[in-house]
Amino acid sequence: MRRQQDFLADQVPKEGKWSSRALAGASIIGGTSSAVNFNVISVAAVCLTACRELTLKLISPQAILPPVKAASAIFSKDLNSELRTRYALNSLLMFVVVTLSIILFSTAGEIVSSSLSAGILWIIVFFAAMSGLSRSFVSEEERGTSMTLQLWVKPTSVLLGKLAFNSVLIYVLNILIIFAYLLTMPSFVVKSPFIFFITVLLGSFGLASASTFIAAIISKANSKGTLYPVLSFPILLPLLMSVIDATRLSVDGASMAEASADFKILISYCVVVTTVAVVLFDFVWRD
């Protein structure tokens, strides 16, 4: 009977959480009665599994929703819930105001060099991202909705939807930060706007894609808040060093050729990190 049970457990597909639960239930009942009785019940469990697989195939949204559509559904869900509560945006705005005012208090009356002001700008962006972007996955774990998402859509769609939402969030946030920074820091004058524009465009996307993926990892861990910057910083450092350098060049009024080395690093970083995130996300999401 033991062997039969193992054999049946092997027959049932691994993804079928309900089916294995049904089988476990069946074996509990089967344990109390005779072997024949057990056989009947386990055969019924296998039939149930087959029925479930069939119904899932027929009515599953995986069949209805192609990956891109699922990703856009997740994106609009996150956007709607953010627009309703304005949880992330409000607190992030206050975070930026607080950080900026501390910097302004400490640099009042000083002439800040271009490399220092570029560094300060990206410090604000980095820590704003660290306090805001983890929410996308942490909130799913906290509300216990990640299981539902796992059932209904493919992992890649989840990542792409969350990445799209986080990118939009970080773009909006960066526009606000940069406007506030340009207004309040007299020594931060961008002499090559085009270089600065490309830097922000690529830098924000790279930041969003690396930190979205790290957010998925830390949402499963215990000390989420402190772990997030610890894990993200080494991964983001190549990006931060090249965006700070490119920002300094744009403030100094450098030519496009001078900044091209940084842009090459930024583009390759974005491509590499996004690809790795898409490939590895299955292991993080379905662990």
Binding site: F213, I217, I218, K220, A221, N222, S223, L227, V230, L231, F233, P234, I235, L237, P238, M241, A261, I265, Y269, V272, V273, V276, A277, L280, F283, V284, D287
Partner: protein
């Protein structure tokens, strides 16, 4: 590891240590006798990167096979790599004090080893924040993979495109790690250098075997108790 191999390893590393100090290395411009650090510092950083690569490799094996033994190997490799990474940082820093005048000045090479230390630190803090064994194994494997694809930006690209004082940075003549991709070493120096590389790699593999055995024993003990 057989006991004759342990004895051989001990003799080998002792020989490397003695030769590293005594062998004539000729005149290297700008470095002089301080170039002898190459026999001890370079193998340390080599092992630190190798250990990180092995840790990632066992992580990938875990993700493929879902066997916790690979996770123990991966963790052991990372722990030893961390030790060698600290040794590389300390030896490099002492050398910098006598060649450049200060222990630490954020040269691109120093930044890259610092980032490697940070990644190891982040890896261990991630492991300690995850309680379920399978989840810890798969998430730390994933983290070591994503860290390893960003590390090349530092160790192999950054020091070559930015100006660095480290031997091998853009524009400075150096025995190894130069932009031409050639080695400029006398024959004696080359032999001792490779002997040292082999010796310390052997030492690392032996330590890794011991550490893995301890990990496996405590894992089985734990599994029996549960």
């Amino acid at each position: 590891m057989k006991s004759w191999m342990k004895l051989l390893l001990g003799a080998w590393i002792s020989a490397v240590l003695i030769l590293g100090v005594t062998v004539p290395i000729g005149d290297i411009p700008g470095l002089g006798d301080r170039a002898r650090i190459i026999f001890f510092h370079v193998p340390m950083s080599w092992v630190a990167v190798l250990a990180f690569l092995m840790s990632m490799w066992y992580g990938i094996m875990y993700l493929r096979k879902r066997d916790l033994k690979y996770d123990i190997r991966s963790e052991s490799a990372a722990e030893l790599g961390f030790v060698f990474c600290i040794l590389a940082t300390v030896t490099g820093s002492i050398w910098a004090r006598f060649n450049w005048g200060s222990f630490w000045n954020w040269d691109p090479r120093e930044t890259s080893i610092f980032v490697l230390l940070l990644i190891y630190g982040a890896y261990f803090s991630l492991r300690s924040a995850l309680e379920i064994e399978e989840r810890r194994a798969s998430l730390s494997a994933v983290y070591s993979i994503i860290a390893f694809v960003t590390v090349p930006f530092f160790i192999f690209i950054m020091p070559r495109i930015t100006f660095s004082l480290h031997p091998g940075g853009a524009g400075s003549a150096a025995p190894i790690l130069n932009t031409n991709g050639k080695m400029y070493m006398g024959t004696d120096m080359k032999y001792v250098f490779f002997a040292s590389l082999i010796g310390f790699t052997g030492l690392y593999l032996w330590l890794l075997q011991l550490r893995t055995r301890i990990g496996l024993v405590s894992y089985h003990k734990h599994a029996e108790a549960a």
